[in-house]
Structures are given as C-alpha cells and as structure tokens.
Symmetry: C2
Subunit: 143 residues, 2 copies
Amino acid sequence: MDNADKLLIDTLFENGKTPLKELAAKVGLSAPSTSERLKRLEERGVIKGYTLNVASDQIGYPLRAIVRVSPMPGQLQRVTKLIQQTAEITECDKVTGEDCFVCKIHLKSIEQLDLILDSISQYAATNSSIIKSSPVKRRLPPL
Amino acid sequence: MDNADKLLIDTLFENGKTPLKELAAKVGLSAPSTSERLKRLEERGVIKGYTLNVASDQIGYPLRAIVRVSPMPGQLQRVTKLIQQTAEITECDKVTGEDCFVCKIHLKSIEQLDLILDSISQYAATNSSIIKSSPVKRRLPPL
DNA sequence: TCATTTCGCCTAATTATGTTCGGTATATTG
DNA sequence: CAATATACCGAACATAATTAGGCGAAATGA
C-alpha cells in the first residue's frame, strides 16, 4: 500500500466510476499499470467491491433510526435471525457491553418503527433513537 | 420508479461496475434506454454516487467501535466540530433521546480508542461498544 | 560478482463498453 | 383530433479498458 494505492482508494471512494485514464493521471502512471494496481487491490481484498450511494428519502424512506437491542436470556439466536430477516434493518453490528446489537433502520413512517419494534419486543429490550441529521457522512479513516 | 429502475438500483448496489450491456439484458431494454434510465435516476438524486467497499482491516484498522456521545451543557457546537474533525470517526448520526450522537469509529488499536475518548471526554459523556461482528452488512431496504 | 529471475512499468494495438444520432410507436395534452 | 412529448430502438461513433510485447531496475542465487 504505497501512496499511489492510497490515492486510488481515496479517489474511487469519492467516485467509484472515475475513469482509468483520470486515475492514471492522478497517480502518475500509465493506464495499464494503474489497472494492475487496482486488480491487485481487489485480489488482496482491500477493495471488496463497488457500490452505489442511494438517497433513501428518494426511494420511499424519509426516516432513519438507530435501535439498540438487548435480547432476553436465551433469545440471542432468535433475535439474531429476526434482525437479519427484517429487511428494513439495513445495518446491524453486534457489540460488547449492555446492548448486544446496534441496528440502523430505514422507515417509511413512524408507525412502521412501532410495527418493527413490536415484532422484536417479545424477545428483546430495545432503545430507539430517530436520526435527525448526519454530521459525518460515511467516509474513509486516514489511509 | 418502476420495476426496471428498482432492478437497476439493486443490481448496481451489488456491483457498481455492472456493465450497461448486462444491466440492459436484466431489465429487458436496449443499452441506450438503460443508460437514459440511469441518467434520470442520477439527475433525480436517487443515485447519489458510486463508491467503494473497502476492507478496513486491510487498511490498518482491525477494530471498529460504536460510541454514543452526550455533550455537556453548552458544549454541543464544540463537540460537533470535534467529532467532524476526528478522522477516525467514519460515520456519525445526530439522534433524538438521551445520547445526542452515535458514531462509528475505525481503530488501529484499543489504545487509540482511549486516546480519542480522552479528547472528547472533557466536553461530553461517552459510552463505547466494540464491534464484535456485523450480522447485517450494509444493504438496501425493500424497493 | 555476475547471470537469472521477477517485478513493475511502458507504448501500441485490440477489444469492450458507453454514447450519440436519427427515427418510430405510443401515450399525453390542448 | 392534431400536436407534442416520451420512451424506446438499431446503427454508427467515441471513449475506455485490456492485452500483448518488450524494457529496465531490483532482488535472488550460483
């Protein structure tokens, strides 16, 4: 991971469709060499894939929430499965400490939150917070 | 947003580099029409951009944590700025409820967490959880 | 030390991919 | 019901990415 590799990752994180030519110019290499670099980054698993940023409010989800979930004794497996099967839960991390899971949920309405929490509450205690804004948008840590 | 548009978004979310030809085949349209669809999705702001999935452990960050941050009275502005300026904080949402912020942090080591928390703790109470696994990887809600 | 291999790079040619350009059918509107 | 707008198509064109062949510097090993 030299400077060129870092620049490639940084640039592609900003715009995953940056043309090879432009990438090559930025790192000061030829197109084929740059392509080789990328291939190696992919093979090494540094670059796991290319994806989209979608505006969730444009696809019918004006609300987002963060829900902390603490399964009741003996319900860990069930709750894990339930979380994975709830399509509106778009991200979930299992963490140390009091709460077991921290989930991000996309919602069509507040009512939908109630609905989803109800389905969980038989097996876990939950703590919900509506997202009001995002002071830090997804970004890379320093390379 | 008809079925074709949804398929395009779903497919590109999985692989942001899916060739137009393949997208066209999938939605049953010609390449130019598919390209038009994409352009409109971008113009309407549904597709906000293309980006990368990077393996954070491959770029020197084997640990991730979720930190909830509750600024002390009168320190909201300062804390907001501090969070934004802390490069290891790769995501932060401002939420309703007890805690004001929920942050995701990428870490080189546990010591680094201590360091970062120290810099915040003069202005806010914090509650940290180390991420042990991610039962739900980032995905789209139902389209 | 000097031959040998490996590696990363280059340019040029080739192939793949995406866009533009008429032009048509089907809705939409005055 | 004519006029316009929309979404689509195939063919031609333009752009972008990959492959092929070869060069030079650093690492490897006799």
